[in-house]
């Protein structure tokens, strides 16, 4: 499953990168003569929307946006999480106390408020939506890394390194980090579909990206037309499900892979 998923994701990423080559039309290209054309219409494989724009093309470009948002948000939240998680996990003490307090607070704080603020102040742009997703995600990641680091730092090889007079930062970067990357990769591969979902969710609440074609907007529109123009929801929903499934299975696969190696080491 994970293997097939890997191919699917690779294909999707290629599609996203080469969106302008793949998509038969531009995202804003209107065809007032052929509005709401159903799936399989000549020239419009997946039909058209209310302005006669090609749904396939919008899906392709929308996927590009979704991936970009998800990856960018993940990169940011992972970077923040790495710094905080390493610090808290390795140094412990006050750094850890602060992280855990922040965790308590973030846990009880509605992410939605952050999203509203970011999106209202900075507009419904790519950057603010991305930041909103990153804000929502970093705490979980940081805690995960912290837990991982706490386990790893009790490993004998870390003691061994310390006995070789390695200093804190060296140990954190050279010995702990590489071994914490596996689990991090797993969470990241699960976080990407979550970020895509969040983007769509924000869009549903009127807080999504408005200046780029986005899946969220398409789904939002599709839901609106669900009973009268079902083709507007079916293709985005299927694309959505396939992408999310593929990423989830990759995550499963990576996790299994790590489990197997850890078993072999035992």
């Amino acid at each position: 499953m994970a293997f097939i998923s890997l191919w699917v994701v690779a294909l999707l990423v290629l599609v996203a990168i080469f969106a302008p080559l793949v998509a038969p039309y531009g995202t804003q290209e209107t065809d007032y003569g052929h509005q709401l054309a159903p799936i399989g219409s000549p020239g419009h494989l997946l039909g058209t929307d209310t302005l006669g724009r090609d749904i396939l093309s919008r899906l392709v470009f929308g996927f590009r946006t979704a991936l970009l948002v998800a990856f960018a948000a993940e990169v940011i939240s992972v970077l923040v999480a790495l710094v905080v998680g390493l610090l808290a996990g390795y140094r412990g003490g006050r750094a850890d106390g602060i992280l855990m307090a922040a965790t308590d607070i973030m846990y009880a704080f509605p992410t939605y408020l952050f999203a509203v603020l970011l999106v209202t102040v900075f507009g419904r742009s790519f950057w603010s939506v991305m930041a909103a997703i990153a804000v929502a995600g970093w705490v979980t990641q940081a805690r995960l890394i912290r837990a991982q680091v706490m386990t790893l730092k009790r490993r004998d090889y870390v003691e061994a390194a310390r006995s070789m007079d390695a200093q804190g930062p060296t140990i954190a970067m050279r010995y702990i980090l590489p071994n914490a990357l596996g689990p991090l990769l797993v969470t990241t591969s699960f976080a990407v579909p979550a970020a895509i979902t969040t983007e769509a969710g924000l869009s549903l609440l009127g807080l999504g990206i408005s200046d780029m074609p986005s899946w969220g907007a398409m789904i939002n529109e599709g839901v609106r037309y669900a009973s009268s123009a079902p083709h507007m929801i079916i293709s985005p929903a299927i694309a959505f499900a396939v992408t999310l499934l593929a990423f989830t299975w990759i995550g499963d696969g990576i996790r299994d892979a790590f489990d197997i190696t850890s078993e072999a080491r035992r």
Partner: protein, 550 residues
């Protein structure tokens, strides 16, 4: 208590257990078959005890688990026969087998902490063995559980029966485990390494209990890697290696005059206290030099949320250049904490560690610290999994920026040769080596910065005896060639005796006795040291008991 009639047909004339040609295989990931137990045949009579001995991976545990078909999903019995008082165990239906399990055959596991359900009180777990077989009512079962707990020597059995496994001490847990195996008064008790996880003093008590059970006429099969344990309790022995029975017979006969080279090797590799005393003292005593490493009045308390452990109390040590100080004690005695304090991995609450008169914990300690290196118990865990053997060995040099890349590669090759490996091994990763080889790499790594002191924390306790002997030999050679001083930490008295010049005995964080090796082993002063030495089970019958040496 009279035995209720057995639900399965028992042939009282038949031998208690008869096993012939037993073969058990595991499905490998590549679809192939790995035969873990190959053609095992033996026979056990009522009231007899059989020891199955062998090193790890010899198939001894799989053998006994095959008898009750307690095998993982990937394993299957490929052939052979096993009859318990006439009942065919291999061909038995699940239903029949269930009636045998617990009722006719009780099983004792290695680690009671794992083999007892953590969320069910001990008494209930015992009672289950009765109620599940319909041997008595719930109320009676509860009462018998308490009685049985008392029988295995657990004080206040009524109160203990209501406790959860984690609330009992290690020794008590193991007794409860045994009680669970015998509560239904089975004909046969199968014990899988029943004392391996225990300290020697506790081991002695548990073994006494097993002896008692045997004396009641119950058959006993004991799987163990400890020949001393086997010799102490068993009538017969089965020596296994790589799934096959190498040698079998009366235990005295096999251990005193082994016929097979493997058995001989095993016996030779087994260290015993007294081995060293028996050999003549070294011809030339090295001149006594000033101590290289001195630990003065170390004290360390660990605090956790709401509790604290006084791990090390007022411990002082001195190690002379090129000599070995053995630090011996049971688990939890604080010996590993001492090692870490000495290494500077923990800061002591009070006291200091001086290397050549310089404080290891001070600001200027970095250079000092490099002169001490450490070898850990678990070789794999102490090696970086994502570094090659070569990189692992030279990591400390790289950290200190000593030498060029070429020089470091050169050094790695040299060290690999020193520890008995090939320079080509430098390119392989830790997981591609066996446990013994991994420990060699760990030793090579520790030697890389040319230390003056090597702190070895249980360096061989994760290894099989044959490998233990090799590693100890290696450490001895290295000391001879390089003049490194050792702080050797072990729970194994034989290892300490073999390696040390001086010995310190730890209990509850404090050193209770210290002195020259011969003084400690020959004329112990402290009752605790006595207790430790008394708990030792001799392997070689020809050897005189310890008391005779004294």
């Amino acid at each position: 208590m009279s035995r209720s009639t057995s639900p399965v047909t028992i042939d009282p004339q038949a031998p208690l257990l008869e096993v012939s040609g037993l073969r058990t295989g595991f499905r490998r990931a590549d679809g192939g078959q790995f035969v873990a137990v190959d053609d095992v045949t033996f026979r056990l009579e009522q009231g007899q005890a059989l020891a199955i001995v062998g090193e790890s991976g010899s198939g001894k545990s799989v053998t006994i688990r095959s008898l009750l078909r307690l095998l993982p999903r990937t394993a299957s019995i490929l052939g052979g026969e096993a009859r318990l008082a006439g009942i065919d165990l291999i061909g038995a239906s699940d239903r029949t087998l269930r009636r045998v399990r617990g009722r006719e055959v009780g099983m004792v596991f290695q680690n009671a902490m794992e083999a007892l359900n953590p969320t069910i009180p001990v008494g209930r777990q015992l009672a289950e063995a009765l109620t599940w077989h319909g041997l008595c009512s719930r109320g009676e079962a509860r009462a018998r559980a308490i009685t049985t707990l008392g029988d295995v020597g657990i004080p206040e059995p009524e109160r203990r029966a209501r406790m959860y496994p984690f609330q009992l001490s290690g020794g008590m847990r193991q007794r409860a485990m045994i009680a669970m195996a015998i509560i239904a008064e089975p004909r046969l008790v199968v014990a899988d390494e029943p004392t391996t996880a225990l300290d020697v003093t506790v081991q002695a008590q548990v073994l006494d209990l097993l002896a008692e059970i045997k004396d009641r006429g119950t058959g006993l099969i004991m799987v163990t890697h400890d020949l001393g344990v086997a010799r102490r309790f068993c009538d017969d022995v089965l020596v296994m290696n790589q799934g096959k029975v190498v040698e079998s017979g009366r235990i005295d006969a096999v251990l005193d005059s082994p016929r097979e080279p493997y058995t001989r090797m095993l016996l030779e590799a087994t260290l015993e206290v007294g081995d060293v005393a028996a050999t003549p003292p070294e011809a030339v005593e090295a001149p006594v030099r000033e101590p290289l490493l001195v630990a003065e009045r170390l004290d360390k308390t660990f605090r956790s949320r709401g509790g604290q452990t006084h791990a090390v109390r007022d411990v002082s040590l001195a190690i002379r250049p090129g000599r070995t100080l053995g630090l011996v004690g049971e688990s939890g005695s604080g010996k590993s904490t001492v090692a870490r304090l000495v290494m500077g991995l923990h800061e002591p609450d009070s006291g200091r560690v001086l290397l050549d008169g310089q404080d290891v914990h001070g600001e200027e300690s970095r250079l000092q610290r490099r002169r001490m290196q450490m070898v850990f118990q678990n070789p794999y865990g102490s090696l970086l999994p994502h570094y090659t053997a070569g990189a692992n060995i030279t990591e400390s040099l790289r950290l200190q920026e000593i030498g060029t890349t070429g020089e470091r590669t050169e050094r790695a090759a040299e060290l690999l040769r020193l520890v008995g490996l090939s320079p080509d091994d430098a390119r392989r990763y830790p997981q591609q080596f066996s446990g013994g080889q991994q420990q060699r790499i760990a030793i090579a790594r520790a030697l890389a910065p040319e230390p003056d002191v090597l702190v070895c924390d249980e360096p061989t306790s994760a290894l099989d005896v044959s490998i233990q002997a090799q590693i100890l030999d290696l450490l001895g050679e290295i000391q001879e060639r390089l003049g490194v001083a050792y702080l050797l930490i072990s729970h194994n008295l034989a290892v300490v005796e073999r390696m040390s010049d001086e010995v310190a005995v730890m209990k509850d964080g404090a050193i209770v006795e210290r002195g020259e090796r011969r003084a400690i082993f020959g004329d112990p002063q402290h009752p605790y040291t006595h207790q430790l030495l008394d708990a030792i089970l001799p392997v070689r019958g020809s050897r005189m008991p310890r008391a005779a040496i004294a």
